[in-house]
């Protein structure tokens, strides 16, 4: 999930359905570090209409889980992200086609490989009326970069060497070394007021975004109201966002159909077809940032330390079966690596195009494990799909005489378990390929836990990170992806779709694969 709900690069894995469950259990944790906010003036392509937006009204939103904390640098749930993303702004954001666009920064310039200068939008005020300044930006980055804050996104800011605010309305960042994902990372960094109090950040929010925080009643609701001083003329259209915490899947769906709710997210896969067939509802959706995979622990069994064994497993997987059974068809098999189809870095290469037991058996025999062996897969009980994936995996390994035992564990216990052989889990990816390759597959990185690394792969990823030209980077990531798939520290399964559903009176909403909810452009036609 992004864990408990994340966006762009999350620290967590989740899938929508899973998420739902997670949510139901109140557990998701995401890593939210990279959630990106949309930029200003972004009209989603799917939402263009000839109608003139009408101001006013309250949108009743079904929220799957209670937010865990509203602190954007610490929260781990998708529901928390959804809420605080309406209250805070970012320096820059993404347009619906993933181009970087202005938000609090009206323009920016890359002075050299290490220096970025941002000119701030003038006249922006915080919700309490005080002026927004460069000092706020500086304080925000310093806080997340400080290991004592404990943010899951800390490592993204470790390369910031210096932040200069001596020029009025200007922020200049100096990095220690060239770092291609820098701008991308800024799209996910909610700018906090310099005068923030870490305790009140947890349960209130005061930003520069389209909606102002009114109240959070844990377990029940969160209320946001229109920011009349929002810097985009005319937006937002809605007076109030009324988030109702509704953990049960059936209740949310029923709530929408009875008009108790106007808008719901993460429609369970099994209900997508049902709701799409209901002419009184709108269902939008498509690719999301989540993908499922099996993580191999390279520290337990000698068999799994042999690359031929890992490749044999990858060849023995029929990825379409996971999509059909666990996702009810709402996903895409991952035949290459972790780069999602909607990223500029997507390569489309099929490294494991189809299940091939002959190849798999030959590889196993070559490795000397033709008689098979036993492994243990752990899966989190609150993510039904991940448990299903583990069971399908166990079936598909049978012809190789690999005996897979599946152990389902409650989420927190699951996270604390280290003696697994494989882990059935999900992760979210986002636009920049560094985000979901470097931290997880580069030796010496904190997220690299499989122990399965490769010097050549390290070098390629170093290159991808320090090369600033996008076309050149794309070529590098074709090789990175191939290398990861062949090294097989992860066995990739599928990318998930995600769906939102709402009443026909809701206008202007568009689905983002990244999970962004641009509620400032939504309006009600009553």
């Amino acid at each position: 999930m992004h864990q408990t709900d994340p966006q762009i690069p999350l620290t967590h894995p989740l899938d929508r359905r899973i998420l739902l469950q997670l949510t139901a259990a109140g557990v998701g944790s995401l890593g939210l570090a990279t959630l990106a906010r949309r930029g200003v003036g972004a009209t989603p392509s799917g939402a263009q209409t000839d109608e003139t937006p009408k101001p006013g009204g309250t949108l009743k939103i079904g929220l799957n889980t209670d937010p865990d904390t509203l602190d954007p640098q610490l929260s781990g749930t998708l529901s928390a992200w959804f809420v605080w993303d309406q209250v805070y702004s970012t320096l820059i954001g993404y347009s619906p086609d993933y181009q970087i666009v202005p938000d609090l920064a009206s323009s920016w310039q890359q002075v050299d490989d290490l220096t970025y200068t941002f000119t701030l939008r003038e006249g922006v005020t915080w919700h309490d009326g005080s002026p927004f300044t460069a000092e706020d930006v500086k304080a925000t980055v310093e806080r997340i970069a400080d290991p004592a804050t404990g943010s899951p996104g800390q490592s993204r800011w470790a390369l910031v060497e210096h932040i200069d605010t001596s020029q009025p309305n200007t922020v200049t960042f100096t990095l220690e070394s060239p770092y291609a994902p820098f701008l991308h990372n800024l799209t996910g960094l909610a700018i906090l007021p310099k005068a923030m109090n870490p305790d009140s950040l947890k349960n209130t929010a005061m930003g520069t975004g389209p909606f102002k925080f009114v109240e959070w009643i844990p377990g029940r609701s969160v209320t946001l109201e229109r920011n009349n001083a929002y810097y985009v003329e005319g937006q937002p259209y809605l007076d109030t966002l009324d988030f109702r915490i509704t953990p049960d899947n059936t209740a949310r769906t029923t709530g929408l159909r009875t008009g108790e709710l106007d808008w719901i997210e993460y429609v369970p896969f099994k209900d997508v077809d049902l709701l799409q067939g209901d002419s009184s509802l709108q269902v939008v959706g498509g690719p999301s940032s989540w993908y499922d995979y099996m993580r191999i622990n390279g520290h337990t069994r000698p068999e799994l330390q042999d690359v031929r064994v890992r490749q044999a497993m990858a060849w023995a997987m029929d990825r379409d079966e996971y999509v059909d059974s666990a996702l009810f068809g709402h996903g895409t098999a991952m035949k290459g690596g972790p780069l999602p189809p909607w990223s500029w870095a997507y390569t489309g290469q099929e490294i494991y195009p189809a299940q091939d037991y002959d190849k798999a058996t030959a590889l196993l025999q070559e490795a000397g494990y033709g008689d098979g062996f036993d492994v243990k897969v752990i899966a989190p009980t609150n993510y039904e799909e991940m448990v299903s994936n583990a069971q399908i995996f166990a079936e598909q390994m049978k012809p190789l005489k690999i005996k897979v035992s599946v152990e389902s564990l409650e989420w927190s216990t699951f996270l604390a378990t280290t003696d697994y052989d494989l882990m059935s889990i999900a992760w979210s990816s986002f636009v920049d390929p560094d985000e979901y390759t470097y931290l997880t597959f580069h030796s010496g990185q904190g997220w690299e836990v499989t122990g399965i690394t490769d010097p050549e792969l390290d070098q390629l990823m170093d290159q991808g990170r320090t090369t600033l030209d996008q076309e050149q980077r794309k070529e590098i990531y074709v090789q990175v992806e191939r290398k990861i798939a062949e090294l097989a520290p992860y066995l990739f399964i599928d990318f998930h779709d995600a769906y939102e559903a709402y009443l026909p009176s809701v206008k202007g909403y568009a689905h983002y694969a990244s999970g962004i909810r641009a509620m400032e452009v939504v309006w009600l036609d009553s």
């Binding site: 999930m1 864990q3 999350l10 620290t11 967590h12 894995p13 139901a24 259990a25 109140g26 557990v27 944790s29 995401l30 890593g31 209670d66 865990d68 904390t69 509203l70 610490l74 781990g76 290991p147 004592a148 804050t149 404990g150 899951p152 800390q154 305790d199 009140s200 947890k202 349960n203 009643i217 844990p218 377990g219 029940r220 109702r244 915490i245 509704t246 953990p247 049960d248 059936t250 209740a251 029923t254 709530g255 009875t258 108790e260 609150n382 409650e410 989420w411 927190s412 216990t413 699951f414 996270l415 604390a416 378990t417 882990m423 889990i425 992760w427 931290l439 997880t440 904190g446 997220w447």
Partner: protein
């Protein structure tokens, strides 16, 4: 009697001390911790220890325990490690919802269970006795989440009589509050009805066979007096025990019903806390429920002596 009540109240202290110690230890024994759960699957050891330090979880268990106990003595249940809200605030927000649901479910079940139970006992073997047997069996065997889902689909979605879920505090809007309360209270009340009704019936049947009932009839009392004046009062003692236990459980939260109807009660607060390893929230809410449980038991014991004057407490 007063001395007895006071003594029982004083005895609560060691009970609650035991509960709180067991709770504290149990929460620390289960695998996983709040920092790891917040940071997720790719947490680095450095980030986990930084967050643990920030939350004070790197202190020794003994120090954490004494901190917590010292807080309790001062009436401070601590703060949620995630939302930063004081635990007492969280409980204060949830308790009215739990109280409303519990009272409503009790009223529904007692108003149906006791009359039906008496009727079934008096007219043993009649159609009404069979009917209550069927209701009793259904109430015990139908899972509440299934009954609740059916009610949502039928009453809320198809007939559109009531909202499918949600909670409105009673004093904000009494009518809307009752509309929200109806389905969860019915669902919860139904299973409780079954238990109480069966107990009332069997207890009544037993009492009706007692000598003193024959005596009452023999001395020419009208049947209604025999039933309500003599038999029922005696038959109610075991029923009261069951009601007390059930009420205690309800105060602990009906997690499944709370989830289904998005009801912000104590049960969900506790369960979410357990899943997130939010120690102060779990410790505070379970302790609160333990206090209620002990108090309800005390009330039940006191009621015994009203129902049966032979019972004296000193």
């Amino acid at each position: 009697m007063l001395a007895y009540i006071l003594r029982r109240l004083v005895l609560m202290i060691p009970v609650l001390f035991g509960v709180s110690t067991a709770l504290f230890v149990l929460m620390r024994v289960v695998p996983g911790d709040v920092a790891r759960t917040i940071l997720g699957q790719n947490a680095t050891p450095e980030a986990i220890s930084a967050l643990r330090h920030q939350m004070g979880l790197d202190k020794s268990i003994g120090a954490q325990y004494t901190d917590w106990l010292w807080g309790l003595v001062r009436g401070d249940l601590g703060q949620s490690l995630r939302s930063g809200y004081p635990v007492s605030t969280l409980i204060g927000q949830r308790f009215p919802a739990t109280l409303e649901l519990t009272v409503a479910a009790m009223v529904i079940s007692l108003m149906t269970a006791i009359p039906l139970g008496i009727l079934a006992a008096v007219k043993r073997g009649s159609w009404i006795d069979h009917l209550t047997a069927v209701i009793g069996l259904a109430g015990l065997s139908i899972p509440s989440f299934w009954l609740g889902t059916l009610l949502i689909l039928f009453v809320a979605l198809k007939l559109r009589w009531l909202p499918p879920f949600g909670y409105t505090p009673f004093f904000d809007d009494p009518l809307q509050s009752l509309r929200h309360l109806a389905l969860p209270a019915l669902t919860l009340g139904f299973s409780m009805t079954a238990v109480v009704m069966r107990m009332t019936r069997s207890s009544m049947v037993e009492v009706l066979g007692e000598e003193f009932v024959k005596t009452a009839r023999a001395k020419g009392l009208i049947e209604r007096r025999v039933l309500y004046g003599h038999a029922l009062k005696n038959a109610l003692i075991p029923v009261l025990t069951i009601i007390g236990l059930q009420t205690g459980f309800l105060f602990g939260g009906a997690v499944i019903i709370e989830n289904l109807f998005a009801w912000p009660g104590i049960g969900r607060l506790t369960l979410d806390g357990v899943f997130q390893r939010d120690y102060p929230v779990v410790q505070g809410s379970v302790l609160f429920v333990a206090v209620l449980f002990v108090l309800i038991n005390l009330v039940v014991d006191v009621l015994y002596s009203y129902l049966d004057p032979r019972i004296h407490y000193r």
